[in-house]
């Protein structure tokens, strides 16, 4: 995977964000009467991405021409609906280079995906004396499911620490892995932007006999993803952060592991047979998709994948590396020591997520003032409270960029930060 870049600045940005912005109705139209009588500067894509017209249209089109429940209907409409969802599954599989489409499980969000792994794999394989290794970078979605299980199964949770630059400190990796059965690892931090050395950790984990479950929420939308090259056993992510709809996520897992795991949720669609005495689960992927799936949402995700693929994920990554360089440079130039940007300073080692601290202005107050200038950033703990504690803060203000952002958005951010600094200096 190319997580770096080829000398940014020497070639033109492969992504024309101005043209792309026009594809996103929310970013390209003013909304009078809602208080939004101007274009907004959307810098919260790490929380959720905006949706291109093509994805919105796909939902409309699905409901207007294809809507029917999947998998169980003989009639043509039900078949068309099933085909649309299964085509989306194959698109997702290809997008992440999954060896087989039936390893792609549709969930409601990455959080369900990560809970599925913890409950279904962990619930079967963990007990007292075992260890689960997490990192201090993790989002609550890859922490709390393990803590819930821990209360029941009594294993130990170990934490790979974060160093002063926001990288994982792997000095004691071997010691951490000794006796470990699971490693839960964020591919990219949603707070610091840190890209983690997944392959190295995965190889070490496998050597120690542990499975690796990767939280790729912030990775899949932004970098070319190859689940095989990653060395992962399970990879979870959400559609809504990659230009897709809310209400659908993905859990990819190796077929041999998924086959050996018990089902997670029980219900229609996930069974081969049910009697009053018991049930027999269905084959993959249905085994893990109980109930009516998020059909329209999966179809929308498929179109989001088409949209990103047309841009090219290498191009997306290069665009973001460039914009990250520009952001780090601009903010340093304009604010110097007054502004702290947490996380790695090298654009090649991080994504476009910037946790900011401006002098003594609390992040909440900061983002309130920024909003007044039409700049949307997120303030809070970003569902990473253990990491907040490591950073020694209660919250940060986080700006994050995506394909539709460009230098002008970063400039607007900087201008509004200046306004905030002066507002609070009264």
């Amino acid at each position: 995977m190319n997580t770096g870049t080829d000398t940014p600045g020497t070639l033109a940005d492969p992504i024309d964000s101005t043209r792309i912005k026009a594809d996103f109705p929310l970013l390209s139209t003013t909304r009078a009467g809602t208080g939004h009588d101007r274009l907004i500067t959307y810098l919260d894509s790490a929380a959720t991405a905006q949706k291109p017209q093509a994805v919105i249209d796909a939902l409309t089109n699905y409901y207007e021409t294809t809507n029917a429940n999947v998998a169980r209907g003989v009639y043509e409409l039900a078949e068309a609906s099933t085909n649309a969802m299964e085509a989306a599954r194959r698109k997702v599989a290809k997008f992440i280079n999954a060896p087989a489409a039936n390893e792609v499980i549709f969930t409601k969000n990455a959080t369900e995906s990560l809970n599925l792994v913890a409950r279904s794999w962990g619930g079967t394989n963990l007990g007292p004396g075992d260890a689960v290794v997490l990192t201090q970078l993790e989002h609550h979605a890859n922490i709390v499911p393990w803590q819930i299980l821990q209360a029941e199964k009594g294993f130990e949770i170990r934490w790979i620490p974060v160093d002063a630059n926001g990288h994982l400190d792997l000095t004691d990796l071997d010691r951490f892995l000794d006796g470990a059965k699971v490693v839960g690892l964020s591919a990219m931090s949603n707070v610091l932007g840190t890209l983690t050395p997944m392959r190295r950790i995965a190889d070490a984990a496998h050597a120690a006999g542990a499975v690796v479950t990767v939280d790729a929420c912030q990775y899949v939308p932004h970098l070319p993803t190859d689940v095989v090259e990653m060395g992962a056993d399970f990879v979870s992510f959400s559609a809504h952060k990659m230009c897709g709809p809310t209400g659908v996520g993905v859990m990819w897992g190796k077929a041999e592991l998924l086959d050996a795991m018990p089902p997670f949720l029980g219900g229609g669609g996930m069974i081969e047979n049910v009697t009053q005495e018991g049930f027999k689960p269905a084959e993959l992927p249905h085994k893990f998709e109980a109930g009516t799936p998020p059909i329209a949402e999966a179809v929308g995700l498929g179109v989001a994948v088409d949209y990103l693929s047309a841009l090219g994920m290498d191009a997306v990554r290069e665009h973001e590396v460039r914009l990250t360089s520009y952001t780090l440079r601009t903010l340093a130039d304009r604010f110097g020591d007054k502004l702290t940007i947490h996380g790695p300073s090298e654009p090649a080692e991080r994504g476009g997520v910037f946790s900011l601290e401006l002098a003594d202005v609390h992040p909440h107050d900061l983002s309130q003032v920024l909003d007044e200038h039409g700049v949307c950033v997120r303030a809070g703990h970003h569902c990473a409270k253990p990491l907040m504690k490591v950073l020694g803060v209660g919250a940060t203000a986080r700006a994050s960029v995506y394909i539709y952002n460009d230098e002008s958005d970063v400039d607007a951010l900087a201008d509004s930060l200046e306004a905030a600094a002066s507002f609070f200096s009264f």
């Binding site: 169980r72 085909n83 085509a87 194959r90 698109k91 249905h286």
Partner: protein, 161 residues
């Protein structure tokens, strides 16, 4: 749009109305394997009696079919039983491969963005089973047609085990 006549060939209806090799075999010596189509509730039971010998050279001396389901799943099972009875496991597997290839080539071509390996359909091996070709125009029914074959496949593994 494919017409119903493509699906319901006369020979299929005939096998549905008068299923061949219907019944049971004593287990043991025979094996009994159940298959379900989870989507619609069709059930197939395959009884297999293999001859002496080793591995794939053993002969399917007898086969019986139980269960219930639609005309496609039932007639497919009936035709299957005729086509493999008296054959060696190796031969039966050949037929199975050809039959599934006939089904899956068309299954995939219905969707965009698919890349499945093209498997050669050996039409010589199929004989009467060719009548099932029309099913592929009704993709939801493909699972009905392949249910008995998948159950046979599993049954062979169990019988050899």
């Amino acid at each position: 749009m494919a017409g119903l006549e493509d699906l319901y060939r006369e020979i299929i209806i005939d096998h549905y109305r008068s299923p061949r090799n219907r019944g049971e075999l004593d287990t043991p010596p025979a094996t009994r394997t159940e298959g379900f189509n989870p989507l619609c509730g069709d059930e197939i039971v395959v009884y297999l009696q293999l001859g002496e010998g080793t591995g794939d050279e053993r002969v399917i001396e007898d086969i019986r079919i139980g269960g219930q389901g639609c005309s496609i799943s039932q007639s497919s099972a009936s035709m299957m039983s005729m086509s493999v009875k008296g054959k060696t496991i190796a031969e039966a597997r050949d037929i199975m491969r050809s039959f599934k290839a006939m089904m899956s080539i068309h299954e995939s071509s219905l969707d965009d963005s698919v890349e499945e390996p093209e498997i050669e359909v050996d039409e010589m091996k199929l004989g009467e089973l060719e009548a099932m070709r029309g099913v592929v125009k009704f993709p939801v029914r493909i699972k009905c047609a392949t249910l008995s074959w998948n159950t046979l496949d599993q049954g062979i593994s169990e019988a050899l085990a």
